[in-house]
């Protein structure tokens, strides 16, 4: 029991931090709440770094303490701090500013629980915590678009969650246990397991923004504050995909050809996300569809689980890269404005920010030596090693399309003149976020070795 508690210390720290943050908000001390979140998340991250290399389970194998769950804390802890700083820049002095910080903490806790799920109930629990907190954040501005977005998020979430819960009862019924490892039994009925898996993919795919359960994304992102959209694009996704990896680790291919199902979903997500992003004129919507595409690439790593030596490394490295580059791109968008026209002439007006945005976008395309490249490199390697070369080919063709998508932001920055209008300024928090993610996007690309097992 004591070792169990010690092993899940990072998650416990996040939980207590969030509770403290909530109390501080009740005392109407948003600044203190922010600082409490920063300190708590850093502590949790530090503990997780210290635990790295552990591979065990806690509480009768219901929670897994392994590379995935620890890296989830190491990635999402600092990422949550960055999002909170963006939130501070955007929502400072708004009513209930502090609730954002505690909701971010709760939602991150949900993602961290997902990433270590050893039991189906943890998947359900993690998904619910994440969704409920996320929905409240999306509705924060209390105006038309944000309420509409949050409503869509909520309804999609409840339906997807209900379908998943229904399907998972089959798994539990068949295996006689809710432990994920219970499904690792070749004698089970293939059809029932397949049904359960498909419903699971619907539930997880919703949080991970995979096609075809991504429809809430563009509207929710557009209605929500930019900092919240940034948060929703990163945190739930990484938690959900790590959970998927935890499930397929124990799922025999003889029962369900899960790599094939995931491969088809990955191909559809990438293609749909990139092609639709080509027509967007709002940067947030463009980035929203781009997150759908990025999830598609990310699934390549899950397909490699159990079949490729690169799989876990690729999930971790791409997770780090994605958190950095996507956060950076959202931070610059927060500073500049959400219309494509807001980026016109940025190269002259703010050369460093323009270079920063270009680096984030090229990293999303997968240009070396940036972090996104290191991640995609490992993802493609995992897919090829698992015998899914055709999927790797689909992924590279999509990378080429995505270049056209991201260039739609780069071109106005450098080759068009600034519109005659009021230019927004960067809050200190926003500047801190884009500069730190900028430096780390380059550093993580060159120093991939740090993230490899």
């Amino acid at each position: 029991m004591a070792t169990d508690l010690l092993n899940i210390l990072p998650q416990l720290i996040v939980l207590s931090t969030t509770a403290i943050v909530l109390c501080l908000e009740m005392a109407r001390l948003p600044r203190a709440a922010l600082w409490a979140l920063v300190v708590g998340m850093l502590t949790a991250t530090g503990v997780a770094v210290d635990l790295l290399g552990t591979d065990t389970t806690a509480f009768s194998t219901t929670f897994r303490v392994d590379a995935l769950s620890l890296w989830a804390v190491i990635i999402l802890g600092p990422a949550t701090i960055l999002f909170a700083l963006l939130g501070r820049s955007e929502l400072k002095d708004s009513a209930r500013e502090g609730t954002i910080y505690s909701l971010m903490g709760f939602s991150a806790l949900g993602a961290m629980i997902l990433a270590g799920s050893g039991d189906l109930m943890f998947i359900v629990l993690g998904l619910l915590i994440g969704t409920l907190a996320g929905m409240a954040m999306a509705a924060h501005p209390r105006n038309g678009p944000s309420s509409e977005g949050a409503m869509k998020y909520f309804i999609y979430g409840s339906v997807a969650g209900a379908i998943m819960l229904f399907g998972l009862t089959y798994w539990a019924g068949l295996a006689g246990t809710t432990l994920i490892s219970g499904i690792n039994n070749p004698d089970l009925s293939s059809y029932a397991v397949m049904f359960g898996f498909i419903t699971l993919v619907i539930g997880i795919g919703y949080a991970a923004s995979l096609f075809p359960v991504h429809f809430w994304i563009p509207d929710t992102f557009e209605g929500a504050p930019v900092s919240i959209a940034a948060y929703l694009s990163v945190v739930p996704k990484i938690g959900a995909l790590f959970a998927l990896a935890q499930v397929v680790r124990d799922l025999p291919v003889s029962l369900v050809d899960w790599p094939l199902i995931l491969a088809v979903l990955a191909a559809l997500s990438m293609t749909f996300g990139n092609v639709v992003a080509l027509w967007q004129n709002n940067v947030i919507r463009l980035l929203a569809y781009s997150t759908v595409a990025q999830s598609g690439y990310y699934v390549l790593g899950v397909i490699g689980v159990g079949q490729s030596s690169l799989a876990i490394d690729s999930l971790v490295v791409f997770g780090v890269a994605y958190a950095l580059m996507n956060t950076g791109a959202f931070a610059i968008t927060l500073g500049e404005g959400t219309r494509l026209d807001d980026f016109k002439g940025m190269g002259k007006r703010r050369p460093w920010q323009a270079v920063g945005m270009t680096i984030f976008l090229l990293s999303l395309v997968g240009m070396p030596p940036l972090a996104g490249f290191a991640g995609k490199f490992l993802l493609f390697g995992a897919a090829i090693e698992s015998g899914y070369s055709w999927l790797a080919v689909v992924a590279i063709l999509n990378s080429a399309i995505s270049l056209a998508v991201y260039m739609r932001i780069v071109v106005p920055m450098f080759f068009q003149e600034t519109e005659d209008r009021q230019i927004k300024t960067y809050a200190p928090g926003t500047s801190f976020v884009w500069i730190s993610t900028f430096a780390l996007t380059i550093a993580a690309g060159i120093g991939v070795q740090w993230f490899l097992a």
Binding site: F377, A392, V393, I396, L397, S399, A400, A404
Partner: protein
């Protein structure tokens, strides 16, 4: 002389980008100062490259520099040089220096322009010197970004479209390269990205080797380019600024051809041998197609761009011959192909600079609107004619020894293919003679007389390249002996 204590290859590679950093930090207000710094660093790079030469180019890979980078994946920072990569390093250093001198007239955002050109130089040198697939790929991709911005910012009328087409098209190619590299890594034993080990011991076989070969083929066929992957080239070459076109044709196309020799030929030799007949068909078609389409152009810059397609056809023909046969004729063809890279770099580089000078004066690239320019600009016209003669393969100038060896080597194995591909020669002759007749001979068209002939800046850029053209033409052995030592060492 002995410089062995210095990491000469790394110094050569990173000197240009260091120059870019100096400009970035100093932010010179005067464009003259900026160009001074840029040209100084480009000259130092050339000097460093020459020091590598003095140090001695072995037949195998030598002067290896190695640093640990990502040991878990068998990736390291590895540089080295042999008789095939060194001539390209020399060409790169030389062509970037002259291009930078030529572009000193660009005043619009000059600092950024010079920084980009220097960054591009580092990337190109890095590609030729890398001995690690991962490192190679990193440099290979950076060239795309650099070139995209050069075309999109400083190009002509349709620059944005041309730049984006170039970027996306060649990105598709390099992504196929990435997949092929991953396959080479996954099928090597022990897993490594080390080019030396992959060359010494090509372990990939069967279907995997076939797929890898075609992945590499598509990647380099887009870059080179070969028909039907060439469609990005005319647009990019025509719309880029003169120096950009010279670098694009002179150096960036060589990334593709160098890749053909370094990767498929050495790492999947059996697959290449098996599919060489297809490659030969593509190469022959490319050579003839390039020649005929060039013949149909009225825009002089597009015409030169298409002759590049023609020359690349010859070049890949030579490489494919080397893949088929291990006899001396294969080696002769490969020697020719490597020399062709250098000849084409120098000759097409200078042709693009001359076309740029022409466009600066006449304000047009349409051959129908120019005539009799020999009277107005005797020096420019004379040099252009000389370069054109070199490009069509006149003996005594750079292309002749290269193409002669390619055809000679090929004749032994595929005489009929040589018979067909050689039709390209009279066609290019015809098109250049027609261009010379239209543009430089006849009566001087009105409005072209007032402007001066080539100035000293242009001469400093163009004359060294012309001298190199003549030198390679009359004394090809200056490079061939080095190239031959390495192709001999391949022992294909």
């Amino acid at each position: 002389m002995d410089f062995s204590s210095l990491p000469l290859l790394s110094i050569t590679t990173f000197l240009p980008v260091f120059g870019a950093l100096v400009i970035m930090v100093l932010r010179p207000k005067q464009t003259k100062t900026a160009y001074g710094i840029g040209i100084a660093f480009a000259s130092l790079t050339l000097l460093a490259a020459i020091m590598i030469w003095i140090q001695g180019i072995g037949s195998g890979l030598s002067q290896i520099e190695e640093l640990s980078w990502i040991p878990s994946l068998g990736i390291a920072y590895r540089l080295g040089v042999d008789g095939i990569s060194f001539p390209l390093v020399l060409l790169t250093a030389f062509l970037f220096l002259t291009s930078l001198i030529f572009s000193a007239k660009i005043k619009d955002n000059a600092n950024i322009f010079i920084e980009l050109v220097l960054m591009l130089e580092t990337a190109c040198l890095g590609v030729f010197l890398s001995l690690d697939l991962f490192l190679f790929y990193v440099f290979f991709e950076i060239t795309l970004v650099g070139m995209y911005f050069i075309i999109a910012k400083w190009g002509h009328e349709h620059r944005k479209k041309a730049a984006l087409t170039f970027f996306i098209y060649t990105l598709v190619g390099s992504l196929f390269l990435l997949l092929a590299f991953l396959a080479l890594y996954l099928f090597s034993d022990p897993n490594t990205f080390d080019i030396q080990q992959l060359v010494a011991n090509p372990t990939i076989t069967g279907l995997a080797a076939t797929l890898t070969f075609w992945g590499l083929f598509i990647a380099f066929a887009i870059k080179t380019p070969l028909f039907p992957f060439h469609t990005w080239l005319p647009l990019a070459h025509t719309e880029a600024p003169a120096a950009g076109s010279a670098i694009l044709a002179g150096v960036l196309l060589k990334l593709g051809t160098y890749g053909f020799i370094r990767f498929p030929l050495q790492m999947t030799p059996d697959a290449f041998r098996e599919f060489a007949p297809y490659v030969i068909v593509v190469a022959v078609f490319t050579a003839l197609y390039g020649a005929f389409v060039a013949l149909a152009q009225t825009d002089i810059k597009r015409m030169v761009a298409y002759t590049s397609v023609n020359h690349m056809g010859y070049l890949i023909f030579g490489v494919a011959i080397a893949a088929v046969t291990t006899t001396t004729s294969g080696m002769i063809a490969l020697d020719g192909a490597v020399l062709q890279m250098i000849s084409h770099g120098v000759v097409t580089g200078v042709l693009f600079l001359l076309v740029g000078a022409l466009q600066d004066r006449t304000g047009t690239r349409e051959m129908n609107e120019m005539s009799g320019l020999l009277k107005a600009y005797p020096i420019l016209s004379g040099l252009f004619m000389l370069a054109a003669f070199a490009s069509l393969g006149l003996p005594g100038l750079a292309h002749f020894p290269a193409e002669f060896q390619i055809f000679l080597g090929g004749f032994d194995v595929y005489p009929i293919a040589v018979g067909i591909i050689i039709i390209g020669l009279p066609i290019t002759t015809a098109l250049y003679l027609r261009a010379i007749q239209k543009v430089f001979l006849g009566t001087l068209a009105e409005g072209f007389s007032g402007v001066k002939d080539l100035g000293s800046r242009e001469l400093w850029a163009i004359v060294p390249l012309i001298l190199a053209t003549i030198l390679i033409g009359i004394y090809p052995d200056s490079l061939l002996s080095m190239i031959h030592a390495t192709t001999n060492f391949f022992g294909l």
